[in-house]
């Protein structure tokens, strides 16, 4: 399995990940190499195997419906790149 630079650009866009044009080639090569490693998996028949998402065979714990958090807006706004009037600012969102 090998990926083209075009594939890499598509994936990068999906992940909103800027990559330098001159690096695209090397990402394509690296990812193709990693995908080659993956082909081993295909050799094993796993039709009857249940996928395992988690090491612990446990149920989700439920939290009582209680308000435990207080307003920490100032603390959170202090570490944000751009804020105004208690809002996080981003370039104009067009719907």
């Amino acid at each position: 399995m090998s990926l083209t630079t075009n594939d890499v650009n598509k994936i990068a866009h999906l992940a909103r990940l800027g990559i330098e044009t001159q690096d695209t080639e090397s990402y394509a090569k690296d990812l193709s190499g990693i995908l080659d490693l993956m082909t081993q998996m295909g050799e094993l028949n796993t039709d009857k195997v249940e996928p395992m998402a988690h090491p612990m065979d446990q149920a989700q714990r439920l939290r009582p419906d209680q308000i435990t958090e207080e307003n920490n807006r100032d603390k959170f706004m202090a570490i944000a790149p751009q804020t105004e009037d208690g809002l996080f600012l981003v370039p104009k969102v067009i719907e």
């Binding site: 866009h13 999906l14 909103r16 998402a53 988690h54 612990m56 446990q58 149920a59 989700q60 714990r61 439920l62 939290r63 009582p64 419906d65 209680q66 308000i67 435990t68 958090e69 307003n71 920490n72 807006r73 959170f76 706004m77 751009q82 105004e84 009037d85 208690g86 809002l87 996080f88 600012l89 981003v90 370039p91 104009k92 969102v93 067009i94 719907e95």
Partner: protein, 477 residues
């Protein structure tokens, strides 16, 4: 060509929990921006979600109310996309294993009952809000709403007109409020609707290409938006065009739908099980506990009202439309000891009209169940007539006095003492000999004149039946 419409609705209901679905921040509406967004809601590095029990309970209650399969095992998945109101870059939702499976809801349109299938209902977290006011050409992000629990209810594409869609939406709205799982406040976005609309030539089996209309937040707009979209699609096809699968936004000001190009590109959500959350296991105990506390459902209650209280269909329907109203009604019947029909007439009649006029809900009524019952009891024991009762009702609405206090204070007690009534009638007959002659010569209509005179003299407080009886005897001589 004749066209047929196919509509399916996806309704997002905010579950009425105190805290968020995965954090302990408040869900209260209307707070200052970002004051109810904690580290988990903001998706800060390292924080983790823990599931709110009440969100699960409310989802199960809904599932039971629509006779759906409750999944013993459901899982949360991440739906990946970038948007500034989505702090983590993914929404925690459910994909392959929703908590509520297939169920149904019966709607009525033009007197015909139709069963609409509900495909599924799943739990997910709400996103924040983008504020487009001018921040030097930037957009402001408020994440107070981020993490509010949502139950997304997905219907089968089984509605064939905007009217049916509205009926379904109303029925669902009524149900979630009745169950107490959602406050149903549409202005505040607690109950939101997306509609999938397609058209096909009548008789064709396969579906046409559908468009999804987003952001329809009132019953009126749902009907208008869908009708508009149907027209748009038919016109498009009849002019040789093709409907494209896309998301369209309803603009209530211009009354039109328009394409949302920004949301269209690259819709590859890459769902996968959220590794921060484990499978939600709903065992028989959990279900039994919910079932035991499940309120009587509207449909069952309506049937009971018809049999137990001998109400007609219309009154029963109105009275069971909300839990608060049916509780009010049943309390009035019980406390007043009056006939159910009389109670129903007052609750659905004068009281509802007054509430409507004042734009109040039943639980905000100035006349509580106890005070209305107090008045109805006096009608039943003949202390006041139905006519006088209207006057008492006015007073009840204005003041905080009880019906008995009002009756005593205003002297509205009905006179049933025949001696007193006879004395007045004798006087009136003596004063109006001409009319007596007319009556005796066969002019029956004059009888009403005498009733009027007596009532006037007695300020309306005489028992009408008693007055009729005595008048008739005396006039016949």
């Amino acid at each position: 060509m004749e066209w047929e419409t196919v509509i399916g609705l996806e309704i997002h209901t905010q579950l009425a929990t105190q805290s968020k679905i995965f954090s302990g921040a408040s869900t209260a509406y209307g707070a200052e921006p970002n004051t109810q967004a904690c580290a988990v809601d903001l998706g800060l590095p390292g924080v983790l979600p823990v599931l709110n029990e009440d969100a699960v309970r409310k989802a199960v209650i809904f599932g039971m109310a629509i006779n759906a399969h409750i999944a013993p095992y459901s899982i949360f998945a991440r739906k990946n996309y970038f948007y500034p109101d989505l702090p983590k870059g993914y929404q925690i939702s459910q994909m392959d294993h929703p908590i509520v499976g297939r169920g149904h809801l019966d709607i009525e349109v033009d007197g015909i009952t139709k069963r609409i299938g509900i495909t599924r209902a799943h739990l997910e977290e709400d996103a924040g809000k983008s504020l487009h006011e001018n921040f030097h050409g930037l957009t402001g992000i408020d994440l107070n709403r981020a993490g509010t629990p949502l139950l997304e209810i997905v219907s089968e594409p089984e509605m064939s007109s905007a009217k049916e869609a509205v009926a379904y939406m109303r029925k669902l709205h009524e149900l979630v409020r009745y169950l107490g799982i959602c406050d149903g406040n549409m202005q505040e976005g607690s109950f939101r609707c997306d509609a999938n609309v397609s058209v096909r030539p009548k008789g064709q089996v396969e579906f046409g290409t559908r468009a999804e209309i987003k952001n329809i937040n009132s019953f009126k707009f749902v009907e208008k938006a869908i009708n508009h979209e149907i027209e748009r699609q038919i016109e498009l096809i009849e002019n040789g065009g093709k409907v494209v699968q896309e998301t369209r936004l309803y603009d209530s000001v211009k009354d039109e739908t328009r394409s949302m190009r920004s949301k269209e590109e690259a819709n590859d959500y890459r769902y996968f099980p959220d590794p921060d959350l484990l499978p939600v296991i709903i065992d028989e105990d959990f279900k039994a506990q919910i079932k035991a506390n499940l309120p009587e459902l509207p449909h069952a209650k309506k049937l009971r009202f018809k049999t137990d209280y001998q109400l007609d269909d219309e009154s029963a329907t109105i009275l069971t439309s909300s839990r608060a109203l049916s509780d009010y009604f049943e309390s009035v019947v019980k406390t007043s000891g009056s006939e159910a029909k009389l109670c129903a007439n007052w609750v659905t009649g004068d009281l509802s009209a007054a509430l409507n006029k004042a734009d109040l809900e039943i639980d905000q009524s100035p006349i509580n169940d106890e005070r209305l019952a107090g008045m109805l009891a006096r009608i039943t024991d003949n202390t006041i007539s139905g006519k006088i009762a209207k006057q008492v009702f006015e007073e009840l609405w204005q003041s905080s006095a009880s019906a008995d206090e009002i009756i005593a204070e205003k002297g509205l007690k009905q006179i049933t003492d025949t001696g007193a009534i006879e004395a007045i009638i004798d006087k009136i007959i003596a004063d109006n000999q001409d009319q007596v002659e007319q009556y005796r010569s066969g002019k029956d209509k004059v009888f009403a004149f005498f009733v009027g005179q007596v009532m006037k003299e007695m300020k309306g407080k005489a028992n009408p039946a008693e007055v009729n009886k005595i008048l008739k005897e005396k006039l016949q001589g």
